[in-house]
Symmetry: C2
Subunit: 293 residues, 2 copies
């Protein structure tokens, strides 16, 4: 079993549950009427601009707003890989983050055109994401089952805001059996957008990476992972039918229900290298599982 | 202990996990390389129109599209209580549902004006929801702890798509210790919107109702419940700080982490009547808890 300190040293970015502003102590009463004080996660609106255009308001715990904005715009196909990002300005008081490019991108015009016909960018944005999948080929890569078990073991034991306050999702960028960047957020897809933003800012290549998430493997999670160019997506949660369908179309390896020695692979089985006997892996200790929610 | 048949008879609408089109059997492999066939929930886009205006595309399992559209528009403040809804037309092939009113509502004009300035209705829609909270007073009501325990016990044992396929949230409209309408959906807030749509269509009054959800008590869940006029929101999951803040402002009773004999009340404690000794309530059987996701 890996020691906690050793696990923590593997990360480039690990959760910082003690950081001020991410959670708050709130006083209430328990089932016996006894006063209790519990930690609850923060949830704040953050409005993302691309140059002068307001794009979306995300509900977020509030850490890494620059990565969130950069990753969101990249994952929505509004900021292509060769776009020159000149600045990212975050105003904490206004809860606004502005991503600036050298020249106005054509996505601003595109968005403006589409909102006139659709009324809301939700459908539009989603349509744009699907567009980006056409012709996408994810790289060949190896996924050893020993890595899956090691990652799951390490991630479940990493001190996190989830363990501190619950009600939050986590996404971890990994390489082989090493967890690299662990982001958490109340907003379902913000954690993965923050990872996308970090990868873009640091120029990190996706082809040998694995994305681990605590959330469900929905179409949107699958699309985001594929657009990021990451060939493997793993989760302790379950699947949706459309998520599986898209993963199979783009050749993404999709691992779900990863708990203890168990998992199910519903797409991209060819990358899987079974280098460990599942019978030798311990069942999940209840203490290290995740509670509902 | 209540028998399953008796529980099922209490519902006006219960989940129908065997219904065609809500889940699909998918073949993959487990950790040992053994082929497995598992049920996964469907996830389809449904585009909601208000008269001639496209409002939003929601990702949904696809049941009760009329209730979803009606409830969504009501909860967003786009369809006031006195608005005359003349028809709700659902086109299964196009995956479109159109809610028609006698005269064009001013929300279409409002939306049109706001999208010009904001680019995306997400922030706008959210802003509108907050607007509806001003001056809102939730009715006085009694919430017996025996009801909470009975509801939790019954709901956890109700056959559902969650138990069948996982990866889905449930919301249940209750009255005292009786669960009335149990809706499920992949989209986080669709289940509660479907309940709002059912209440509006059936003319059901909210003041003596309890809303139970399997999901987290976020700001959006709290706002929707308050706008529906329901004085109590309970969940087996945790809280966000802003969710608690809004609940306290509008006087909503907020019960979280409701599992077995345990719960935490963080707002609206005055409605709580402790009519049962928590020590006499059984701890949650693991089999009846919810898995992650």
């Amino acid at each position: 079993m890996t020691k906690l300190d050793d696990i923590h040293q593997e990360y480039l970015i690990a959760p910082d549950p003690g950081r001020a502003g991410l959670s708050r102590r709130v006083v209430g009463h328990d089932e016996s009427g006894k006063p209790v004080e519990i930690a609850v996660v923060e949830e704040r609106p953050l409005t993302i601009y691309l140059n002068s255009r307001e794009i979306v308001t995300a509900m977020t715990i509030g850490d890494y707003p620059e990565y969130l904005a950069l990753g969101f715009l990249s994952n929505q196909g509004m900021l292509s890989a060769d776009e020159d990002v000149t600045a990212i300005d975050y105003d904490e008081e206004l809860q606004v983050v502005v991503v600036r490019t050298a020249t106005e991108t054509d996505h601003e015009a595109k968005l403006s055109r589409k909102t006139r016909t659709s009324g809301c960018a939700v459908g539009t944005v989603f349509g744009d994401m699907m567009e980006g999948l056409e012709g996408l080929v994810l790289p060949a890569a190896e996924l050893r089952t020993s890595w899956l078990y090691a990652l799951s073991h390490k991630i479940n034991r990493t001190p996190s805001l989830y363990l501190e306050a619950g009600a939050i999702h986590g996404t971890v960028l990994c390489q082989a059996d090493r967890p690299l960047v662990y982001m958490e957020d109340v907003g379902r897809h913000n954690a993965v957008d923050k990872i996308a933003g970090w990868m873009r800012a640091e120029g990190v290549s996706p082809e040998d990476k694995i994305l681990y998430t605590t959330g469900r493997l929905t179409s949107e999670m699958v699309i985001k992972t594929a657009l990021m160019g990451i060939p493997v997506l793993a989760s302790r949660s379950g699947f949706t039918a459309w998520g599986v369908e898209i993963a199979r179309e783009v050749g993404l390896t999709l691992i779900g229900r990863l708990k203890g020695r168990r998992f199910v692979c519903l797409s991209g089985e060819d990358r899987l290298v079974r280098d460990v006997d599942p019978g030798s892996v311990a069942e999940e200790d209840r203490r290290h599982g995740r509670k509902g929610g």
